[in-house]
């Protein structure tokens, strides 16, 4: 298939919603482990896996083996999004007569492995991979195992076997979410080092405690370690794994059980439990409210952009925003595609290229070739025909399509027809041209107008706020509907980029929590508000959310 990161993320979101729908309707199931592997499945289904939903038994298809079979809702929901069966089929999950069994089953065409009894999927995958080699087939086997599952001795029997037979047409993902049914993995059976206290983030912070990779390396495997929720990291790891010959590869993906729904995150209770119907709409809104922080490096040292990129990497930026200015469309000049190409090798973090140049249609190819992951062009310098050309070229090259409007530009009517397939819309909240300007307050109103237009035209991309976004206003910009935030001086201008980004996230999170409480209040008054608050049992979330609810007068 091969979609761009934005489209992949959209599909992952769809799949997550289907997991909620399916497990809720079934009244049981495993959302936690479905969400921890959501980005892994997303990268596979929408970028790497060769398959044909209309011919599930196509003999040259890649094979996906979900060894941690309890995460079946995650598999089924992606199969629905990928077109194997209608999304409504998820409503039959775990029901009598359904092909969507409680665990993956060959009863459902396209499923490769009957999972459920843990620890066996890797051996099975080795068999499939060996058969592929015997038959000189080029298919690849992708297998997802769990960390709790790694307690099973057979996993290690299989690890030795794959190494002995040099099974390099097999790539394994370890969904390292640190939680199994009873408790934290490091409590039940440590894979890394013993966990002291309940703070899983301690395990995350300190790479010296990660021993799982060493285990696999000592079994003769190629080990790649990634943040399993970063699509670009998973994508890059798959490419690396596929290029590695003569040795099997495991991609150890550090993940969060229940990822994307705060009360499920890192909470062992959500290993195998379905959400109640009354909270489902709130959860769906939360899923719709995922956000990204994109530092703009021109706010830093223009003579050493390499270092600015490195600061973004260290700061765990979601995207890196690259403002290309030509000195004509805007008075300033920054850099062009040659610089982007130079920077590209420094990181896999997506490049969010914002072209503030005249006649972008003439240059779009260069920015694709330079390694942009999304390219945004301005309404002021495009028309239906040139934008159509840009749009198609970007999509064909798996690059996201962005469209920007200046503060005094209204969304042009000719662009309405592109809205459903736009990946990003930038609503400039300063006059473009230089960093360090103040946020134009009228943007809030403009966003409100725009939002209704966008929903009317089925927009499913992200709105990016660009210009003067800071800690004071980011919450309200989020409330307006922005989901990506460009930070210039407020991030890159700060001493510690990592702290600045973290502070941005905290502010957005506060705003999001308030919105979700509003939703709860609107749907079920203080009773539902309290229920929602009480679902948040890990760490200090509950206290923080209760405080927001009290301030808003919901409780």
């Amino acid at each position: 298939m091969g979609l761009n990161y934005y489209q992949i993320k959209k599909n992952i979101l769809k799949a997550r919603k289907l997991v909620i729908k399916g497990t809720n309707t079934a009244g049981s199931g495993h959302p936690g482990g479905s969400f921890s592997m959501a980005e892994i499945l997303g990268c596979l289904f929408y970028k790497h896996l060769k398959f044909d939903p209309n011919n599930p038994q196509w003999e040259d298809r890649d094979r996906l083996v979900l060894s941690k079979g309890h995460a079946a809702p995650g598999l089924f929901s992606n199969m629905a999004v990928a077109g194997y069966f209608p999304e409504s089929e998820l409503e039959t999950l775990r029901k009598f007569g359904s092909k969507l069994q409680g665990h993956p089953d060959l009863k459902c065409p396209g499923v490769e492995f009957c999972g459920g009894s843990l620890g066996t999927g890797l051996s099975y995958s080795i068999g499939i991979a060996l058969a592929g080699k015997l038959d000189s087939k080029n298919y690849h086997v992708y297998t997802i195992i769990g960390d709790g599952e790694s307690d099973e001795g057979q996993v290690w029997e299989a690890a030795m076997t794959a190494s002995k037979y040099k099974v390099d047409n097999l790539t394994v993902f370890l969904d390292r979410n640190f939680i199994q049914q009873d408790s934290y993995t490091e409590r039940v059976m440590p894979l890394d080092e013993k966990l002291e206290g309940d703070n899983l983030s301690e395990m995350w912070k300190d790479a010296s405690r990660w021993k799982t990779g060493d285990k696999w390396r000592s079994f003769g495997w190629n080990v790649i370690e990634v943040d399993g929720h970063r699509v670009e990291q998973v994508d890059a790891a798959i490419k690396k794994a596929n290029a590695t010959k003569g040795i099997p590869t495991i991609i150890i993906s550090r993940t969060i059980k229940g990822k994307s729904v705060e009360h499920m995150e890192d909470n062992p209770q959500w290993h195998g439990k379905a959400p109640d119907s009354d909270v489902v709409p709130i959860i769906n809104q939360e899923l719709d409210s995922q956000f990204m922080i994109a530092p703009s490096i021109i706010a830093g040292d223009m003579t050493n952009l390499e270092n600015e990129v490195k600061r973004c990497v260290h700061g765990r930026a979601d995207y890196i925003h690259l403002d290309v200015m030509d000195g004509q469309f805007v008075p300033n000049k920054t850099f062009d595609h040659t610089k982007i190409k130079e920077l590209r090798s420094l990181t896999v973090i997506p490049f969010d290229t914002h072209l503030m140049i005249n006649e972008p249609v003439k240059h779009i190819r260069d920015y694709i070739d330079a390694g942009s992951d999304v390219v945004t062009v301005h309404a002021e310098v495009t028309d239906e025909s040139s934008f159509g050309e840009i749009h198609d070229l970007l999509k064909q090259n798996q690059v996201g399509v962005g469209f920007a409007i200046n503060p005094d530009t209204d969304f042009p009517e000719w662009a309405n027809k592109f809205i459903p397939s736009l990946d990003q819309i930038i609503v400039m909240s300063v006059v473009p041209g230089k960093s360090g300007q103040k946020y134009i307050e009228a943007t809030h109103e403009k966003m409100a107008r725009l939002k209704s237009l966008l929903s009317e035209h089925n927009f499913s991309g992200y709105i990016e706020a660009d210009g003067g976004v800071n800690l004071e206003n980011i919450g309200s910009v989020f409330a307006d509907g922005a989901r990506a935030f460009v930070g210039g001086g407020a991030i890159i201008g700060q001493q510690d980029v990592r702290v600045a980004i973290k502070d941005f996230r905290i502010e957005v999170l506060k705003s999001r929590r308030k919105q979700l409480l509003e939703k709860a209040n609107q749907l079920g008054g203080s009773e539902l508000v309290n229920k929602w608050i009480n679902l948040h049992v890990i760490g200090e979330k509950q206290e923080q959310i209760r405080k927001i609810a009290q301030e808003a007068g919901f409780v």
Binding site: L106, G127, I128, D135, T161
Partner: protein, 324 residues
Amino acid sequence: MNDPIMTDMRSEYSKSLIQLGKDNPNVVVLGADTTDSLKTSGFGKEFPNRFFNVGIAEANLVTVSAGLAVSGKTSFASTYAIFLPGRAVDQIRNNIAYPSPSGKKGLNVKLVVSHGGLSVGPDGGSHQQIEDIAIMRVIPNFRVFIPADTIAVSKLTRLMANEYGPFYMRMARSKTPLVHSESQEFNIGKGITVRDGTDCTIAACGITVRMALEAAESLQQDGISCRVLDMYSIKPIDNEILEKAARETGCIVTTEEHNIFGGLGSAVAESVSESYPVPIKRIGAQDMFGESARDNEIPLLLEKHGITSINIAKQVKELRSKKL
């Protein structure tokens, strides 16, 4: 009876596999560090690419076989009985029997073991599998064979290769007496009347078929006419041949190298009680484990459990008095 011709099941299995390997490029053979003992290593020498030794890892052996099978291979996985049903029943159930591609039942894996039953001898009780038939019989989609001699081994191996789906076949460790002729046919779900008779039936399997024949021979001298059935297909079982035996001979003694619970005796009792109930006596391990016995002492070990031609004859006599 004449002294029997003794032949080796594992050698016959090995020969059959190599022939299958030549005839069918999709046949693959897997072992778990017992490949010299099982003599499957012969296949490995002929077809190194289609032979996989996964080490002492039986769970892995079963599941890798399943993965190959789901991808179009005909997998033969072999080790000792005690290490397959006795150890990897979860993998056998969930990775071979349960996964059913559209229109099929289970995956195309043949589990062929040696060292079944008590006649394993010196290795002792830890290695004498007397539970495998019960375990394998209860798993849906599996078919279960116990060959009586090398002719049966050869023909059943070929039959399994030609028939889609999961099979379990249990061989003995020691050399076994020939009881069948080269022209004997073997079919899924069929038994063989190896000796006809009218007063009683002995339903036997594996090495006890020869014992049953010896018992029938001695009973003949007492004027008792005994029918002997080789019930090599434990599952599916030949209901027809059993019902006929029940109607025509009025009682059935079963013999096997297996716990009397859940093995051939149970299968026969289940079948006959539904078709034409007659008195049944089950001979086999009397719900107790085996123990070490040197090769020349194996008859003593079997005797301890009543698995001898003399006891079979004795039980036939007793059972006849209970006829309805």
